[in-house]
Symmetry: C2
Subunit: 358 residues, 2 copies
Amino acid sequence: MAHDREAPASVDRRQGSLTMRDIARLANVSSKSVSLVVNGLPGVGDETRARIEALIAEHGYVPQARAQGLATGRAFLVGHVYNNPNPEYLITMQQGLLDGLEGTGYALVTFPLDRAHPQFTERLREFVSRHRLDGVVFSSSVAEDERLDPLLADLRVPYVRVASTAVDVPERSVVGVDRDGAVLAGEHLVELGHVRIGMVSGPMSFLSARERRNGFEQALTAAGSPLDDTLVVEGDYTFEAGLQAGQALLDLDDRPTAVFAANDEMAAGVLQAAQRAGLEVPRELTVVGFDDFSIASHVQPRLTTVRIPTRAMGHLAILTLLETQTGATDRGQARDTPSPELVVRETSAPAVSPEGPR
Amino acid sequence: MAHDREAPASVDRRQGSLTMRDIARLANVSSKSVSLVVNGLPGVGDETRARIEALIAEHGYVPQARAQGLATGRAFLVGHVYNNPNPEYLITMQQGLLDGLEGTGYALVTFPLDRAHPQFTERLREFVSRHRLDGVVFSSSVAEDERLDPLLADLRVPYVRVASTAVDVPERSVVGVDRDGAVLAGEHLVELGHVRIGMVSGPMSFLSARERRNGFEQALTAAGSPLDDTLVVEGDYTFEAGLQAGQALLDLDDRPTAVFAANDEMAAGVLQAAQRAGLEVPRELTVVGFDDFSIASHVQPRLTTVRIPTRAMGHLAILTLLETQTGATDRGQARDTPSPELVVRETSAPAVSPEGPR
DNA sequence: CTGAAAGCGCTTACAG
DNA sequence: CTGAAAGCGCTTACAG
């Protein structure tokens, strides 16, 4: 056997990573002092603290989250549960969550879960209780699920839902702006003078789809030209659905002069349907999307759409969650989701009567 | 004070979640037996095992990962470190990782980290050692970084890099098919009879960009019509870059009859440049992309492209990582990344001499 | 301001 | 086949 080098036998024995006790021994103090220093707590003399800090830096010592967690009950982990609606939505949301986590020491654990999964509750329970997460953010339509509340309450884990309406108490909600955004879209079309207006909605089983439709209807009704139900086609938020819905709408004898699609993917599909039908956009058809994801500015002409603050909502979700954590019950003013914005690009034009109505 | 209900005082005291000891007490065994049952280990009588299992199911007991982790040194967490190149790439990769993790009990911790971050090493070290991750997968260009190896070796944490070439030993690599894919694109253009061929490359600081360019060059050279350097424009993988590069290429006196863009985003940009210039695609210009992300089939005409098995690569990365974990040193045959596929859609056409060269 | 000790919820040699 | 006990790496009353 090779001779041991003269390294202190009590240190670095296991896997090259030292423990709090190792640091304590090196500093000639009890591990409690090291713990206090690590956590920035008072109770250690200046000189001792400096010595300990130097040792920590020198050895690159990082306390183990799971040992801290076992002792304190914290996990230093926050979960993100979602069903995948759209890559860009997800990445943007995730980015917002990470914005909020930045500098907090919490890491983000990702857990896709479909509401239709036969073992929905079991899987969620196992995920959350196995890691004893400090909190969970639910985004996309899984956030609307009614099974969340009893389960998470039973598990006693704080959570926040990012959903289209206040599906939960304020401390557990980040409320979307789907309705307001759709109102903007409706007002825009009305202002352009459109009367015969079509809509491609999302799947009505989704709250987001219902809110967007309601907001849109509300704007048209307020302007005195209520939405014509025969001009509404339900899609599933995909490009293909938009394409088909667009074709159906444009095939009508008295086709609409403008179409609002409940997301950009479908709006791009409508645009393509128009182009295939030989219609010039926006002269012969105005198209408005929703979300302002990248596809909106990658199609030709670029889509007028409504920008939704998805990333900000993710950030908000974490702030809300951490507020609960720290027991800051007295949140000064409730945090509001930023407002949606109409982004007018190249698919908007004033209404012209379609030549030869019926 | 309210009277206690007659619940066993020793159970359910803390936060409604019981511990292994609680189950042991209820079953009248030592917690060791419960541990054996939980882990599916032998050493417990059938009758006892059944009794324990029933209790576990009844109370929905789930062992705490961090206590198990502290005792065994495992974290039940795998990290994914990446820099965000493109939402669809990321989500697809992440999906592949989750495919591999399914049923293993490991959770995925997400950690975006830019190579240019001033504290790159420090942040990575802290992330990995704080949670003592069981393994880390690096994807996107951060996987190419040369600082990974010394750091992770020091931390003694297994990892796998998903990169365009074998930047590491086989046990730590999932090797991309960028070069092979680009060869397919080149052969396709050659077969169509194109000679004056342009390329929009990715940023040459990325391995993926260099590989794609090399593969493309290789195919053209093999066909006897080497790539003309003056017809290569470097982009940064964005739509905008493709648009500009496309404009530059099409402005040339003797413009190319076909352009290969190193990803779909840029190809969509090239397509738009062609359309703006009044060129008919594919009759006057053939455009080929790379990746086969959704944008490829959402533009009009739909892009011919090369499908890269991103999700499969993510899956592979986890399999490779877990193989290392379980010390399965004798991997039968090395796992190979599935081959890329040429997907011919609507932007491919045979070459015709551009009218009026020069 | 500091130490010695118990405890967080598991696993695992060590004895029977 | 099963128990009692030590230990994983932290935190935190409890004494000085």
